[in-house]
């Protein structure tokens, strides 16, 4: 609260004064999107988001009445840039909307960062953090301050097919200082639902990692809205002390309504809305129409939660009793290694068969477990088998293998957010290799239209993983699945490159302090370019992977970056050209002719000075010149060989050997004799005739 108050005081400060202070502070203002100025010297901690830091900002057009602030995004994540356009037009709605975004140099970090400009709320945050308590809202306040003001925003978002995925009490703001109405906080600074505590997620989402909750749907937003209402009514999160697993377990056992409201008595009308919004069955959950009708005073019959089928006797695991398959699946997923040991033998199959009474599920388990053990009793099932067992136990649950747990539409996001974790990368590879995604689709009761698209995309990932060479592999999966994810190349760590247009300028900037030792194309850069540009020729990607042929590999580097320059510019890249040019030594040396090498060196110099990568690539890979060089070299080699042999023959006395000399002497003697004889006959003839 105090931070917020300080922010407001800062806002009151005059613009020139702020500029002065900013100039004396951590640096001058940063211009974003040509329209806004951000002041790195003025943080706004009250507006910070879990993965973004807030700073004071203002529109450059001083006539603009709109107050704005800036969020500097986490460099290891990607904001939801796909929503920037659609949300900009919703500025009239009670929600913080993004007005601009740009990747700019951020002086405090001495690196480039993605900076969002958003409309600034004039009121404060309702809940300062996810665990904070506050004065509970009564029925009237809930309706007047929260539901009615936010309903148009929810309806508009739903109509446009946008899921907010950041509706929670600590992301709600009072619209103004009078605290009469609320507004939704921003939802673009981090991947969808990443910042949501698990209590705000439906069971399936809460079972997944925060990164694996996916974009979801309006239904997920309405669920989060229901949870928010419950928390506002109770003046804080009633399950703040519970672990994520315990929260999900409670939701599975008692339902979300029971978990959040418990035995607290609520007004009937609110009970009705909360039961509808907090329904754990997506099909039964209230939609926007239901909410609108309720807000307009039409009362609907409260939804009664459907209790899970209870087994006749419990399954004991980790010294706890489990009475249904879904909770047991949750426990298995949370204690992977222990679950593998528990599944040795047929105890689980017997329990499902006899106690749960689900023949079909028991058969599915038998298929997995007996198949896994290959007929040998006593072996623990592998990760793949356990993952499949979990799907049999709870088909709605996220795709899980060890700590990797994700909704089916967020597999790529989990990889991206946890890319720095080697074990998560390995699990991702195993999941694709074990075809668990396909199995998950098969385990669903019905095929939904969106599954076909997802399935096709994941098959593509399998193709990328099969090819482990540069330009493919895990890196390609990462960038192919996450459109706005920054390039994670260590070289570009400070550049925050998210678009193809930013790659070459970032590499060019690296040459400002001298040419780096390493090559400009590593696995991340190659995969990023391949994923962000359609139609990088396969021959270029193949060339990049030719570790056995240094010349082709280096030419591949040049061609790849030349292709990017052709597609996205800029036209002059002298630093990068010099960087690539330095690595062209082996290429030039691969020509045999000294004359050609000298010509190429001149061409290289000209290309470097022009900063033209395409010209550089063509100059270094001149097929006609290569052909001339090859044929010339073949001729020269043959000639050298002939010369060498003749030299050896001459040095070994080929011309002075007695036999050779004698033979030549005989010939010469005969010729000389012939000449003398002819001369003599001629003289005698002249004498006698004369």
């Amino acid at each position: 609260m105090s931070d917020q108050a300080e922010d407001l005081r800062l806002e009151e400060a005059t613009r020139p004064a702020r500029r002065e202070r900013g100039g004396q502070g951590q640096g001058s203002t940063v211009v974003v999107d040509r329209r806004f100025e951000v002041e790195p010297g003025f943080p706004l901690p009250g507006l910070d988001q879990p993965h973004a830091r807030a700073f004071a900002a203002a529109a450059r057009d001083q006539t603009s009445p709109r107050k704005v602030y800036a969020l500097v995004c986490d460099p290891l994540l990607a904001p939801r840039r796909g929503l920037l356009g659609p949300l900009q037009s919703l500025a009239r709605l009670p929600m913080i909307v993004p007005l601009g975004y740009e990747t700019v140099f951020w002086p405090p970090d001495n690196a480039r960062r993605g900076v969002l400009i958003l409309t600034r709320p004039e009121g404060e945050r309702i809940q300062s953090d996810t665990r904070a308590s506050f004065a509970p809202f009564d029925e009237d306040a809930i309706l007047r301050k929260v539901v009615l003001p936010l309903l148009p925003a929810l309806v508009e978002l739903g109509a446009r097919g946008i899921s907010h995925r950041a509706i929670r009490a600590d992301n709600l703001f009072f619209r103004d200082a009078s605290r009469s109405e609320c507004m939704l906080g921003e939802c673009v600074s981090a991947p969808a639902a990443l910042d949501q505590p698990s209590v705000y997620e439906p069971i399936e989402g809460a079972m997944a990692l925060p990164a694996g909750r996916g974009v979801g749907s309006t239904s997920d937003d309405l669920y989060a809205f229901g949870v928010t209402l419950a928390i506002l009514l109770r003046g804080g999160n009633p399950v703040a002390e519970l672990s994520d697993e315990a929260i999900v377990h409670s939701k599975l056992s008692r339902g979300t309504y029971g978990t959040l409201v418990g035995k607290q008595r609520l007004p009937l009308s609110l009970t009705e809305a909360l039961r509808g919004l907090l329904s754990d069955e997506t099909a039964d959950r209230w939609g926007l129409n239901d909410l609108e009708m309720w807000a307009n005073g039409r009362h609907l019959s409260p939804k009664q939660p459907m209790a899970l089928a209870r087994a006749s006797r419990p399954f004991e695991f980790q010294e706890k009793d489990y009475w249904n398959c879904r909770t047991l699946s949750l426990a298995f997923g949370s204690h992977w290694d222990e679950a593998r040991q528990t599944l040795v033998g047929e105890e689980l199959i017997t329990w499902v068969h006899r106690s749960v009474g689900d023949e079909k599920r028991a058969e599915g388990l038998a298929l997995q477990l007996r198949g896994a053990q290959g007929g040998r009793a006593g072996d623990a099932p592998g990760d793949r088998q356990l993952a499949r067992v979990l799907m049999v136990l709870d088909g709605k649950a996220p795709l899980r293998q060890r700590q990797f747990s994700t909704r089916i539409d967020a597999v790529g996001e989990v990889l991206a957010v946890h890319y720095g974790d080697q074990s998560m990368r390995q699990i991702f590879v195993d999941i694709l290799g074990n075809r668990l995604i396909n199995y998950w689709f098969e385990a669903q009761p019905g095929m939904r239209p969106e599954y076909a698209v997802l399935k096709k995309g994941y098959e593509q990932l399998g193709f990328f993983l099969m090819r482990q060479r540069i330009g493919y592999g895990l890196e390609r999966c990462l960038y192919d699945q996450n459109e706005f994810w920054p390039c994670l190349s260590p070289m570009l760590a400070d550049a925050y490159v998210t678009r193809i247009e930013e790659v070459l300028p970032a590499l060019e900037a690296l040459t400002a302090g001298g040419l780096p030792e390493r090559e400009p194309v590593d696995r991340h850069v190659a995969a990023f370019i391949a994923a962000r540009t359609s139609g990088v020729p396969e021959r270029i990607l193949s060339a990049l992977g030719r570790e056995d042929d240094e010349v082709i590999r280096r030419l591949g580097n040049v061609y790849l970056l030349a292709e990017v320059q052709r597609l996205a510019g800029p036209k002059r890249l002298p630093g990068l050209a010099a960087w690539l040019g330095r690595s062209m030594g082996p290429v030039i040396e691969s020509f045999h002719s000294r004359e050609i090498r000298q010509t190429l060196a001149l061409e290289l110099q000209a290309s470097v000075e022009a900063g033209d990568l395409y010209h550089l690539a063509l100059a270094m890979d001149d097929g006609k010149l290569r052909k001339e060089d090859d044929s010339g070299f073949a001729n020269a080699t043959a000639e050298y060989s002939a010369v060498t042999r003749e030299l050896a023959w001459v040095e070994q006395g080929g011309l002075t050997r007695p036999q050779f000399v004698f033979a030549k002497s005989q010939q010469i003697a005969a010729v000389v004799a012939g000449c003398l004889a002819s001369l003599t006959v001629l003289v005698m003839t002249m004498l006698y005739v004369g």
Partner: protein, 181 residues
Amino acid sequence: MAARKAKDIPTGGGAGGGIRWGRISLGLLVALPVMVVLLPTTIVTLVLSLPTLVAVLVDRTRERYLVATVGLLNLCGLLPALIALWERGQSVDAAMRLLTEMLYWLSALGAAGVGWAIFISLPPLVGSYYGLISQRRVHQLRKRQKQLIEAWGEDVTGHGDLEEDEEEEEPEPGDLEPAAG
């Protein structure tokens, strides 16, 4: 080379021998009447051509360069004697008398001797000449090798392959052709 060697292999008797004897027979058939008619000339020629006959016996090479060398000059030395015989009239008596004159012997045998001298004295001279040629050729070839290395790099020498080639077959003069110039 191979063709030349094949050609050198003696064919022995058979058809080739028959043809040779046939030619000799034909030659004798034509020559004998001439020799009978010109008997004095034949006598003088045969007697004064003794050095050539010796050369024919000594030179067993195919090319018969010694026969050509001695024979051509011997024939030149014989001509004065034949001219004198024809001036004195074609008779055996004149031929006998002529063979007793030292001048004609000196002329025929001297000329043949010159031929023998040329044949014997040339090899040392030719050897010296080829010695000089060899030095010059070595210099030219080394220069060319250097030029090729400068223009195409050390790879042009193809070390490994060349050594193998050299081991496999010994170069022979007939197989070698000058690389350049």
